[in-house]
């Protein structure tokens, strides 16, 4: 009985560890995936800002929605030769990613 009890406890503990680890890994993977996608799209938006194009931020938000991000908050704090974007986006699995990215590039020639 004792051995059965011990085996049950060990199995439960192992199952708990495996479950928690699996969840942690899945979450880590999703987080990483979100960050890579966000980074890529943010860079496109930063280049778009530096090119002085209009609607960069709204296009950025559209692109985020297209890759299944919801509750997107993005703000743009760009100046003449500095493009800076802040974003808070939640993916389909309720993983929220907050990122800020900037690109400083002077495209004028004096």
């Amino acid at each position: 009985m004792n051995r059965k009890g011990q085996a049950f406890i060990e199995a439960t503990l192992l199952l708990a560890i495996v479950t928690v680890s699996s969840l942690f890994l899945v979450r880590l993977g999703l987080q990483l995936q979100n960050e890579i996608v966000l980074d890529d799209l943010m860079e496109e938006a930063l280049i778009c800002k530096l090119q002085k194009k209009v609607a960069c931020l709204s296009d950025f938000k559209k692109n985020l929605h297209a890759v299944n991000f919801k509750m997107v908050q993005a703000s743009d704090e760009s100046s003449t030769d500095l493009a800076r974007i802040y974003v808070k986006a939640t993916s389909g699995f309720n993983i929220t990613t907050i990122l800020q990215s900037e690109l400083k590039l002077d495209l004028s020639v004096n």
Partner: protein, 225 residues
């Protein structure tokens, strides 16, 4: 046994995530560096062209003086005014010498810019390669990673003489944007090494490019990315 398998699975997943992060970081590093360096190189080319184009008024003035002196010489010759002919001939030689000096200066600006561009392109390619190699040291035990970085077109100083003769005016060619484009392509190819292949066999390739183009609108220059 099952625990070992699970640990192996988790370790493989962590390895994959780590590598994914490394690829993203490498791409990001290249793109940012590439944009900055390409823009800087394009700016240097444009500055050289601005110096070259600033000599156009002098070129025009010399040619105008040469033409008018030559016309005066024809008139003086027809009138048999020999003292004037001698003076005008001396003037013509002096103007021609000035034109030759200007021509040498114009050509040296173009040639030195072209040498600077060619050298910079090679140097930047090498630097990008070294930067990429520095990042991949951690993975060389498990993966064979190759970076190929090259410039797809030879950037040339896109100017041409607007007229024939010595010390002409210079202008941009009609295709100056594509001819003078500074661009780089970054390719990363990886595959798992022999020992790692027993556990995980993977092979992939990524490609990325960046470019900086000149843009002239009236007297205003800018750089497009």
């Amino acid at each position: 046994m099952q625990s070992i398998l699970l640990i192996g699975l988790f370790a493989t997943l962590l390895f994959c995530f780590g590598f994914l992060s490394f690829v993203a970081q490498s791409k990001m590093q290249f793109r940012t560096n590439c944009l900055k360096k390409s823009v800087e190189l394009q700016r240097q080319i444009i500055k050289s062209e601005k110096v070259l184009f600033a000599l156009n008024p002098l070129s025009t003035a010399l040619q105008t003086r040469y033409d008018s002196t030559q016309a005066e010489l024809v008139t003086a010759s027809a009138a048999n005014n020999y003292p004037a002919v001698i003076k005008l001939e001396a003037d013509l030689i002096k103007i021609r010498l000035d034109q030759l000096k200007l021509d040498t200066l114009q050509k040296s600006i173009i040639n030195s810019s072209q040498i600077m561009v060619t050298t910079s392109l090679l140097q930047l390619t090498n630097n990008f390669h070294l930067d990429s190699q520095r990042l991949n040291k951690l993975w060389t035990g498990f993966l064979d990673i190759f970076f190929v970085i090259y410039f797809p077109n030879k950037t040339i100083i896109a100017v041409r003489a607007a007229s024939s003769g010595v010390a002409p005016n210079y202008e941009l060619t009609s295709q100056y944007k594509s001819s003078q484009k500074v661009a780089f392509v970054w390719q990363m190819k990886y595959w798992t090494r022999n020992e790692t292949q027993k556990l995980l066999s993977s092979e992939n390739q990524f490609e990325l490019s960046c470019q900086a183009l000149p843009n002239k609108n009236g007297d205003q220059w800018s750089i497009e990315i």
